[in-house]
Symmetry: C2
Subunit: 462 residues, 2 copies
């Protein structure tokens, strides 16, 4: 039961790998010449009750992943009810009218499978990986909890204690996480991406049965979900199973379009500084609000993906080569772009000093690299190398049933389509050096950035 | 038709006087020994339809002010509809079923009266000042537009252009205002006080008839309003008039409690910098989230009012005496506290350098004065002088029918009562030097502050 966030720190410090797979992946090729294995022939259909089903056959191993993605995340929460989306993810593991709490999980364990769930700003997903003969059983259980949960105060109270403890251990005990929360709350002046996925403590404490029931009734329904089945399966058989299980779940209320308050024009340069005695090495992150794959026009999202790769994607990037390898002033430096997002998202650079170097030096050097791209652009050769690296990393990310399912799920719940996934490699190939320079110049303006500083208490800097 | 705000800049630069009267006034004595004139005997009652009526007789001049205060402001707006409260204030001057647009205003002008309206975070108010014999007519018109407005697209469209132009001229053309907006959006991480009263441009552009009608139907009703009549009137006669006019207006829907998302714990020090070529002299403002009269406990709001007075209330304050008079490094320096607020509010200090002094020097000197109070407290003598000054300024503020009406209206629409207003002087008198020191230490922590810098483009500073 994972949280995907915070937004501004998604790429910062290369956080949990699951996060990188899902959030950092962008839109990934469904069919692509570079891959050695057969192109997966994706089947996409809808049940009568509105459930979208995507089947991605992959017969290399006798294993299948079922994922149900709900088109609801923390950015859809009612005002003052932060944390309800993630809280609900926990409640989905409680009992239903048919099955006692823990029965589903015990079944998965019994057959040697694995299961989990995660919540992000735009979606909440549940999955099991099992042997193909157990798929029908998994579908029965997953379909059952789609609308059959029994939500009583006896269930709600203790689980609320669990999420409060989760916030204490993951956020309150972690200066990085505390800083990232306030960076996000500063970066987004109007959009709910400003609010942490796990919720604000004082609001989480008050979440109750009424909130949970309203949330469940509104959002958990076949017409607000996508079922992804990836692995050693036959699409026709999956369709039959899906109709026998999910097909019997009643359609929920019609939902209005997912329109959230959008960002105003930003006019200022902002800083957010956290001094904490638990910090030994200072570091910074700097973020901008930029378009996502869903909101961008004219290939800007693709150009931002490649800008991120060239500037700070791994050890071959400009930032790493210049600051860590050549000058040796930084222990880390990089960039990240979270393109898979329903609304405008963030582009982030980060760094931490090494040895005698100061944080200021590192930040100036990072900034100089950005200015160099803004002024001189990137060479065709560098662009091609980055593009190849980036496409390869995407192929690697999808080289597992679950990786592929993640890509389809995240795309389909943030406004993308199966077609978009198929078209993505060509769109990435079409990006020009001029476009990379243009998005850097257009969006990475220091006077509209938010910089987060994580400092030890004694440091005089900033 | 005024906007009261932005929050963080309420006291900064001593903005419009109306703003100081209403927002800076705190809770003001209804009856007080120091005043030379007779204690006003305030009459407070409710009509059957829920309208609260406050009559404040003042027979010094043949004049009366009628104000209707609605318990709705920009912080009550639906998500994504910023500006609707202020937009609605404009629409209230349009036609009703009974009267054409402009008829009410023409009537006021014809009899030599004046009228206006203003919108803030927690309330929206309309008023006319006329000769007492015209009060009945004013009440008829005001009661008529309480639920009788005719809202058509022909009315909405052109008036939306007016508020968009108002935003352009007041905010977009004013670096001070632009900075203050983003300071507020940074200071409040969760509460709607983060959103400007006038609204974000991109949301204002989309406000339409459906939004306006929903807002009107929900909030404009006798059971969500307070009528204040102050001046040369007799309470019994006012009651009779009110029953004949407002008494006929139908009660609106029952409204839920005004519960807005509250602030989380803040852990960071933040800065917001606007560089603008229209700026010639740099300046700063620094704000903290602090309790209001409505949210504070154990006299903290009263102590914050006196802290503000001692630290930066006018030319006798520590900041002015030290920075402007003695050291001559600042052209302005002061502090402000906006205590009359439904939810937690802000405490602000500000300053601008003079001559060769730098902004850094001024900010350090302001901070040193705060630290001096945190460490050494204030003397009993200084406290008494400040208290006397403050009480006197309040007496002055209420020494007009409209000033008094403002105090009652702002208090009664932000969770206060007539009793609170009467008790306020004694509560202010009870504040000890230890309490002033305690609120400074508790709330004015640099590591939880937001500083706004307004700089010319060339300045290297910050």
């Amino acid at each position: 039961m994972k949280l995907l966030g915070n937004r501004s720190s998604r790429a910062w410090r290369n956080m949990a790998s699951a996060l990188v797979v899902v959030a950092g992946v962008g839109l990934v090729p469904a069919a692509q010449a570079e891959t050695a294995r057969a192109t997966p022939s994706v089947t996409d259909f809808k049940l009568d009750n509105g459930l979208e089903v995507v089947v991605i056959p992959d017969h290399r191993a006798p294993i299948v992943t079922q994922m149900v993605w709900y088109k609801v995340g923390s950015a859809d929460e009612p005002a003052g009810k932060s944390g309800i989306a993630h809280f609900f993810e926990h409640l989905m593991f409680k009992g239903t009218k048919k099955h006692a709490a823990g029965e589903f999980g015990a079944k998965v364990a019994e057959i040697g499978g694995s299961e989990n769930a995660f919540t992000s700003y735009d979606y909440t997903a549940y999955y099991q990986t099992v042997s193909p003969d157990a798929l029908g059983t998994m579908m029965e259980y997953e379909a059952d909890r789609m609308r059959g949960l029994v939500l009583t105060d006896e269930v709600i109270g203790p689980e609320r204690d669990v999420i409060l403890e989760e916030r204490r251990s993951r956020i309150e005990n972690n200066p990085d996480a505390l800083l990232s929360e306030e960076v996000d709350a500063t970066l987004y002046q109007n959009h709910p991406y400003r609010i942490p996925v796990i919720g604000w403590m004082h609001e989480m404490e008050r979440l109750n049965r009424i909130d949970a029931t309203a949330f469940y009734d509104k959002y958990y329904a076949p017409n607000n979900a996508v079922l992804i089945v990836a692995g050693d399966v036959d699409p026709a058989a999956v369709k039959e199973l899906a109709e026998k299980t999910y097909g019997k779940v009643e359609r929920g209320p019609a939902l209005p379009p997912r329109v959230r308050p959008q960002e105003p024009e930003q006019n200022t340069r902002r800083t957010v500084t956290l001094r904490d005695e638990r910090v030994t090495v200072p570091s910074f992150q700097q973020s901008w609000v930029v378009p996502s794959y869903t909101t961008s026009q004219d290939g800007e999202a693709e150009a931002l993906d490649l800008l991120s790769e060239i500037l700070g994607g791994g050890t071959r990037s400009r930032l790493y080569q210049e600051l860590v390898v050549k000058r040796g002033i930084a222990s880390s430096a990089g960039a990240g772009y979270s393109g898979t997002s329903l609304d405008d998202t963030s582009f982030t650079v980060y760094g931490a000093p090494r040895g005698e170097a100061t944080l200021d030096e590192v930040q100036s050097a990072v900034d100089a690299e950005i200015r160099r791209i803004v002024t001189d652009g990137v060479s065709q050769e560098e662009l091609e190398r980055a593009r190849t690296r980036y496409l390869r990393s995407m192929i690697f990310a999808r080289d597992s049933a679950q990786g592929l399912a993640n890509i389809y799920g995240a795309t389909l719940t943030t406004g993308g389509t199966v077609k978009d996934i198929a078209a993505w490699p060509d769109r990435l190939r079409a990006v020009t050096a001029e476009q990379v320079k243009a998005v850097a110049a257009k969006y990475l303006d220091l006077d509209r950035s938010v910089t987060g500083y994580l400092l030890p208490p004694e440091t005089a800097q900033n």
